[in-house]
Amino acid sequence: MTLSGFLDAALGRLDWNALPFWEMVAHPSASSIINGLIASGAAGVMVLGALVTVWALTRYSLWGALWRDWLTSLDHKKIGIMYIALAFVMLARALAEASVMRTQQAVGLGGGFLSPEHFGQLFSTHGTIMIFFMAMPFLTGVINFVMPLQIGARDVAFPLLNSVSLALTAAGAALVMASLLLTPFSIGGWSGYPPFTETGYSPDVGPDYWIWAVTLSSLGTTLAGMNFAVTIYKKRAPGMTMFRMPLFCWTALCVSILMIFAMPPLTLATSMLALDRYLDFHFFTNTGGGDPMLYANMFWLFGHPEVYILILPAFGVYSEVISTLSGKKLYGYTSLALATICIAVLSFTVWVHHFFTMGQSASLNAVFGIATMLIGIPTGVKVYDWMLTLYRGRVRLGVPMIYAAGFLMLFVIGGATGIVLANPSLDYVTHNTLFLVAHFHNMLIPGLLFGMLAAYAFWFPKAFGFRLEEKWGRRAAVSWIAGFILAFFPLYGLGLLGMPRRTVAFFEPAYLPFTLVALAGAGLVLFAFGCLVAQLVVSIRERERRRVPAGDPWDGRSLEWSIPAPAPEWNFAVLPKVETRDPFTEAKEQGRAYRSPEDYEDIGMPRNSAVGPIVGVAGFACAFGLVWYMWWLASLGALLGLGAMLARGFVRDTVRVIPAAEVRKAHEGWLAMVHATPRIPRHEENTPANLGHAIPASQEEQ
């Protein structure tokens, strides 16, 4: 074989043009240089970040610890934390992209500095990352960490599968990151509508990057959903009936059911698009009997339940946060649980509202429009239930509560604009405009992101044993809220003025004031993210005076607060017996908390496994090979993944037994420490006096 023949086989269609700075070197012009510099800068930051990480891991000899304690760990808490870490990294990138886009539109009257292709990649990666690699990992991570603790389980039902799910999601995220260095990504938007994304119109690798990144994420999410559902069905502690579960677990259950049933249409849609692109099938082409409308239908069959996959966990978080920080039982528990189920089922019946303008009959549109509005009923019930939880409580305005308050007020505005969009005849004048963009950001930022940030502040002490710093946390929360308002409310106006989404430049001077205000909002959001970073740094530095070893910093109500912080590997020394809702609050009020159990037993915990990381690497290799037509790499990846799973079948030594004596020693030690720790009232919970031993709010003298 000649050298060039060998290189062609080895590198597929990868060549110098893939480098982000190649265009500006090959064809220098003002535009190509500006865009090339921005793209290369982004790639450079990523490479630099990777190098610094590698250097730090080597310098402090942490490779072994990373492998043993994290990557191969099957502990649901660690897997949850890794999901959330992934979400934060991806959030940083997608926020940076959002800011560049806002800057472009602020100067976009008649031009601006970004090329249309560059802008197209920005909004496509921004959407793809925010949905699949920020929001999904974040909520999956929170469910992973919190749900087993709340139902009194020692782990999820399938710990290895959990690790594999994480690895698949991470592989998808890595693929999107790789597209920074070896460009281009798709310009077809996060929804990747054909025929635009078909080979005929987008022959480059962009849509392939999108297809495989999303497919990996979709598979990982399906598996995660199954894992959570079975965990909730089969692993609840004795006495933890469904209607005694904390509301967060109800939302986790509904979310996992949505994941199980709503991800297959996405996997199918991307796979069919891949068949069209790689093997000349005719699913969604204009030609050969293909039907692009089928894609719209299939994508939104996933896309609408997805909206509730994103939002329901945040509803769960808010239920916990509002109840705990009001020192009060959750109002309307049954209503909230039923409303959650209603929303989950109804979410499968409304997908047409994403394409009201495609030409179907008025009555069909009306049916789906009304189904959409019906979701407004349980959602409205929830909002008022949360308000009634505040009513006659003792509300502490901690960081999670600031997010919750911001959420309550902003979310109903987003809900109102959602009802506008649910009307087919109004959708005809707002579809594809910035009104729609403003609407879904209004649902997803207060609805999802604030919820996840509230969860981060709320459960951080349980994960790491110390509280996050409050001042930077407040600054972050307030800036997020204000930044969101400034960045997105103008977009409602722009949408009503008829400005379409995804437009790199515009020619209407009346748009300019709005885009300028939105830019200011984006700046404030960036500042908010900076505050979060500052908060984390300060908190880690001051961790010794923020420790809450007794484990209950907020006067918590559910089981996760009844164990040490950080939680031990086995979660519960003895599986709790549950008799009521809010079991930990009941125990504290009746003086049954922190009692020594009569007996301890050996605990079997899953041994570490390398299968997860191997499947992740295999998935990435396979996808990367497919993107660049490196067939050898794709086959190698597929075989590696398959081999790892087959080999796993022959592993029998999967459980590590922790002797009862060891559990007893740890637990009795902790109990002694708790009894020696002074109890603190609620108004001291943000002071160093808070060691995690709470006086229940209801027993406080006021």
């Binding site: 292709e117 030609t287 039982k329 528990y333 303008t357 009306a366 006659r392 790199v504 009346a510």
Partner: protein, 290 residues
Amino acid sequence: MPPLAAFLLLSGCGVETFLDPQGPVAAQQRTHFWLVTALMALVVLPVLTLTPWLIWRYRDRGGADYEPRWAFSRAWEVALWGGPALVVAVLAALLWINATRLDPYAPLVSDADPLRVQAVGYDWKWLFLYPDLGIASVDLLAFPAARPLEIELTSATVMQSFFVPALGSQIYAMGGMSTWLHLGADAPGRFGGENSQYNGKGFHMQKFEAVAMDDEAFEAWARHAATAPALDAAALEALGREGVASDLARALDRQGGEILFGGLPDDLFARVMSETAKAPMAAHDRADGQ
């Protein structure tokens, strides 16, 4: 409230949208929009006002009543499910009525005969065919204000969406298929139109003008258009190339940028539809030739 802000700005700046409607469809949509907004305010305003009040009134160490175990009230339950259900029932009725009445496929109620126009989406311009008049124009939709428009749409490339915000509804145009849209203007005027569905790097340039004229002006325009060169094979080929209207004007050597065609091949619209649906190689060739 952002819609209000937008509305105020609208009245000042002369950007017409359905909130400043220029036709019967948009006018109904505006009424519907404000009705929905008002009804939603019934649900939204209590939350906006009561949430801060509750947080203040029941703040920790604020001395208000405290009932940590209160978690259920039958009356509240009925109100909480019933209230939103009632609002949604009214909204649903409005929805059904408006969805049926504003079906883009339904002809507008009018004494005058509708003007038949066929719109074809190209990358990145619109071709408007007037089959009854034997003329065509690019990025200019001229029509008599006194007659409703009956537009049949298709796309010669990817999915697009035809939208004139001042006149109302938008609808997708898709390759190999045709959709229908009925619009009308109240009085002569010029309104901005666009493709609102992203279709590549020229997307932001794909704007057109919808010009409602009085009858004489329209007739004069149609006569003027009839003098333009015919829409022949070469012109069709040029239309199919990626580019905005000004690129096309250059390719066809049209001075002043105005692109009109004075003669149409038979069944051009149907031909575009079937060719987009059949010629599997055309798109590939074009993409490779870039």
